[in-house]
Symmetry: C2
DNA sequence: CATACATATAACCAAAAGGTTATCTGAATG
DNA sequence: CATTCAGATAACCTTTTGGTTATATGTATG
């Protein structure tokens, strides 16, 4: 299942998402962009794959990753809706307060 | 430090934020809204307080919680900016592709 | 003042997160 | 074909997360 919140909760994963939104990249290039080990990056990629935010393509010894745009977009919209709703509630209350004041 | 992503990564915490955006609530009412123990809720509240997304007010034996609107709003805007940027990157690439096609 | 109630805290637990090093596999290359 | 290179996997570690039960503290209330 795609848990957007889990996927984006780590800054390394957010940076990875940003990188592969620009362009499809082999794992090696992603690893080079950070100062942690290849297996550590692999685990982040595994989480992003598990949450379906990445697509992978094998080509010989290289493994390329790219953003799964529809899933990401959908997850982002749902998140915006959910968090936006919290502020709407607040604004509704403010509106009610102002109306009572009239 | 305020880590919005950490705060919102749990569905229970998101629901709590929603509840206290509506109105200031005593801990008891928050506990009653879930099927987990009072100490468990307390830990979620502690995380939300740590990330400064909640304000607490003691009144006798009651402890009231409310949304820290400015911090939440700011965190939400930063999050939108960061995640929105990922899609912008993608759209920029699409734009480039379409322009190349002309 | 004894009791009930709201909250806080301690001790414990299992699972997940985030990292490491070492090693294996499988593809490409001198 | 031996070696190198990219990636996968295993074993291990520490900290965090998310929960539990039991108990303490402090405020109201009959």
């Amino acid at each position: 299942m795609s848990d957007m919140y889990r996927a984006i909760s780590d800054p390394i994963r957010r940076k990875i998402l940003n990188m592969v939104a620009h362009q499809e990249l082999p794992q090696l290039e992603i690893v080079r962009a950070f100062h942690i080990s290849q297996p550590a990056i692999k685990k982040h990629l595994a989480i992003l794959l598990e949450e379906e935010l990445l697509l992978e393509r094998r080509e010989g010894k290289y493994c390329f990753y790219r953003l799964n745009v529809p899933i990401f977009q959908n997850g982002y919209e749902q998140l915006q809706h959910e968090l936006g709703h919290i502020l709407e509630n607040k604004l509704t209350k403010l509106k009610q307060y102002l109306e009572e004041d009239l």
